[in-house]
């Protein structure tokens, strides 16, 4: 059944690619980018400046039509799949929890588009987007988030712990900052193995203050590990405003203290994120060591759950710790229509083709919901298995 879900996914991706009747020649994007205010890196920390790193549009220009369309498709998948979760949950009877990523899609897609399939990512509690962007199967993810026996983790993990090790996903992780540390550890393992893979660790703005980030960053810098840390600064640590708990405004500045290049990019601009990530990935592959990239963005929903949201409406309003006006301002910077406008302007997509992609993704999401609903629940006694590789632990009730 799992295999079937994956096949459906592959077919969907293929059919979108097939709707490309005439190849569009490669473009020079720079003019188009500046016209629409995309592709710009806000800020490089001291070390990045010293390294005289190429800053803008070095890599964007080489993106193929197919890659650009895939990026748009992946962003939509994240948006519509998570919106479906929200709607299902608000209807009632939803077997699970969720920390929604909506609004931050450009980061996951920008970063993962710069990776190879055999590269690794380590994800967070807000990680659905990372998994989808790394190739995660919508069906198996939705089955897992509703704790079905055929989900990615057989129902053991749920939303916070979805993993597909075969795609190089070292787990979503419910403990803030852990992804930085395990990612850096995996990067050390890559050096021991002697391959040219890289690891991306995702973390929110709250993930860099605990000791895990320090341990990861210092080791990655000292040993020049192929490690890229993505700080998704959505401006809130649960409900605490970032600026109320950090004295520095640009968190990537911290990178300098470890001897790492830091970048600050517009996290709602998928091309800016891609450009920074691609630079970091190429550098890491060549043995140039780690990079920290801070992506400024905004969380459309509450930290957790669906408070303040409605079926058929985007965003969570009336949350108390933020103003609705602030949310509306950020929703106006929605990364998806912004990217679509750009792709249409650049003739990578037509409006009609873009609509077709929306329809295909909508259908894939509906299929995922139907797939998950039809899946069996786990056997109760399976909770005693997978503690160790072999056997089951005793129940101790008799």
């Amino acid at each position: 059944m799992n295999g079937q879900g994956r096949d459906n996914e592959n077919k969907a991706a293929l059919s979108i690619g097939a709707k490309d009747p005439k190849a569009i020649p490669r473009r020079t994007f720079i003019q188009g980018l500046s016209a629409i205010g995309m592709g710009s890196i806000f800020f490089s920390t001291g070390l990045a400046k010293e390294a005289k790193a190429q800053s803008v549009s070095t890599y964007i220009d080489s993106l193929s039509t197919k890659q650009l369309r895939t990026m748009y498709t992946e962003m939509l998948k994240i948006r519509l799949w998570e919106t479906k979760i929200k709607d299902l949950a608000l209807k009632g009877g939803f077997r699970g929890v969720a920390h929604l990523y909506v609004g931050e899609e450009a980061i996951a897609v920008g970063v993962c588009s710069a990776l190879r399939r055999d590269d690794y990512i380590a994800s967070t509690h807000r990680g659905h987007g990372h998994l989808i962007a790394k190739g995660g199967d919508l069906n198996l993810m939705l089955a897992e988030i509703t704790h079905k026996a055929t989900g990615y983790c057989k129902g053991y993990g749920g939303s916070l712990h979805i993993t597909d090790m075969a795609l190089g996903i070292l787990g979503m992780n419910g403990i803030v900052g852990a992804a930085h540390l395990f990612g850096a550890g995996a990067a050390y393992g890559i050096k021991v193995k002697g391959t040219d893979q890289v690891v991306v660790s995702f973390g929110g703005d709250g993930s860099i203050q605990g000791s895990f980030f320090t341990s990861a960053a210092n080791s990655a810098a000292t040993y020049k590990l192929p490690w890229i840390s993505i700080i998704e600064n959505n401006q809130f640590q649960i409900w605490v405003r970032c600026s109320d708990v950090y004295a520095v405004r640009d968190l990537a500045r911290r990178a300098d203290g470890y001897g790492i290049e830091g970048r600050v990019v517009d996290g709602n601009d998928v091309l800016a994120v891609y450009d920074a990530a691609k630079y970091a990935v190429e550098k890491a592959r060549a043995g140039g060591g780690p990079t920290v990239i801070e992506c400024k963005t905004y969380r459309w929903y509450d930290h957790y759950g669906f408070r303040g949201s409605k079926i058929g409406r985007d965003g969570a309003f009336g949350l108390g710790y933020r103003s609705d006006r602030e949310l509306r301002e950020w929703m106006a910077k929605d990364p998806i229509p912004r990217f679509r406008r750009f792709l249409v302007n650049e003739k990578v997509l037509t409006e009609e083709l873009a609509d077709e992609i929306v329809a295909e993704v909508t259908k894939a999401v509906e299929d995922a919901a139907a797939f998950a609903k039809a899946q069996p629940v786990p056997k109760p006694e399976d909770g005693l298995s997978n503690v160790f590789a072999e056997g089951a632990v005793p129940l101790h009730k008799n």
């Binding site: 989900g151 597909d164 070292l170 990612g183 393992g189 990861a216 590789a389």
Partner: protein, 323 residues
């Protein structure tokens, strides 16, 4: 002179590093180099710095790094000094012990946390003379915990720990050289199996690591006083199921269980062993000897009074047997 504990452990790791070309050791200042007779081991020299890597004083890196690399199939050993054995506790509690289960069996951590442990030594005080921390790890689901009492067991348990696909905490208390000679060749001691050190019929005495020296002395003294004690060394503290089979079989025979532990009285690891025997065998007489619920003082007069000695074990056993 037989091989020391540290030589036996490094010999185990050396053999496994030759066998598994990716196996990597992360450590702080405890250099993986030692001598015995006319031989020496130097892991950094033999395998290079990438595979035997000293770190900053950063236990979260040593353990977190080892966990991360083990996730991608690079087996790793994380060596942690005794006074900071619990700094990486969160990593073992919330990640090492849980990830296999949380991911439905997809993710594995084939790593070893090699934790140096202290043994209630005088002149150290508080932070550098604590003991019993193995019970903190043994209570965590998903972890295996082994605790050797002599160099022979140390080598066999370390090799088993390295080859295990689940995370293993290897607790090394400073134990003087004793027990059987350590063969040069690799060998394994199965995780999860206790060993009966001395056969007896009047009372069962359970203890591990440094307490095995006190118990061994006590067993001899009890013998001279006409009491036949059966002495069991659990060697593994988690999972405990098979260990308990050995202990329960013994207690069914003797009807009496005395435990001796360098850990603190409350929640020492032997408390768990007593509870499991109490559930399984009716009518048993129990006594738990352990360090008082106090930090270890530095002055020898105080700490030697507080820790469990062979004399304490003899007195408790005599009282239990003769009433």
């Amino acid at each position: 002179m037989p091989k020391s504990m540290s030589y036996a452990i490094l010999e185990a790791i050396q053999g496994e590093m030759r066998r598994d070309k990716l196996l990597t050791l992360l450590y702080e200042y405890q250099q993986p180099a030692t001598r015995w007779a006319n031989r020496s081991i130097d892991l950094e020299k033999e395998f290079g710095r990438w595979r035997a890597r000293f770190s900053a004083i950063d236990e979260n890196w040593i353990v977190g790094g080892a966990l991360g690399m083990s996730m991608i199939g690079v087996r790793a050993i994380a060596h942690i000094p005794s006074m900071t054995t619990l700094i990486p506790y969160e990593l073992m509690f919330n990640h090492a012990g849980k990830l296999r289960h949380m991911t439905g069996g997809q993710a594995a951590f084939p790593m070893v946390l090699w934790a140096d442990m202290q043994g209630r030594s005088p002149f150290q005080a508080g932070q550098h003379a604590d003991a019993g921390l193995e019970s903190c790890y043994a209570r965590l689901a998903g972890l295996k915990v082994v605790i050797p009492s002599n160099p022979y067991d140390a080598k066999g348990l370390m090799i088993s720990a390295i080859r295990d696909v689940d995370p293993v905490v290897f607790c090394q208390y400073p134990v003087p050289t004793s027990g059987p000679d350590v063969p040069d060749e690799p060998y394994t001691i199965p995780i999860g199996q206790a060993v009966v050190r001395t056969q007896g019929k009047d009372i069962t005495i359970v203890g591990y690591a440094r307490q095995t020296l006190e118990i061994a002395k006590a067993v001899e003294q009890l013998k001279q006083r006409g009491i036949s004690a059966e002495f069991i060394d659990p060697r593994t503290l988690a999972p405990l199921e098979q260990v308990m089979v050995t202990i329960i079989k013994s207690v069914k025979k003797t009807g009496k269980l005395l435990t001796s532990d360098d850990g603190s009285y409350s929640f020492c690891n032997c408390t768990e062993i007593i509870a499991r025997v109490a559930e399984a065998v009716p009518g048993v007489t129990f006594k738990r000897l352990a360090f008082p619920d106090a930090p270890p003082p530095g002055a020898p007069e105080m700490i030697n009074y507080m820790r469990v000695s062979a004399t304490d074990i003899v007195a408790a056993a005599e009282k239990m047997v003769r009433g």
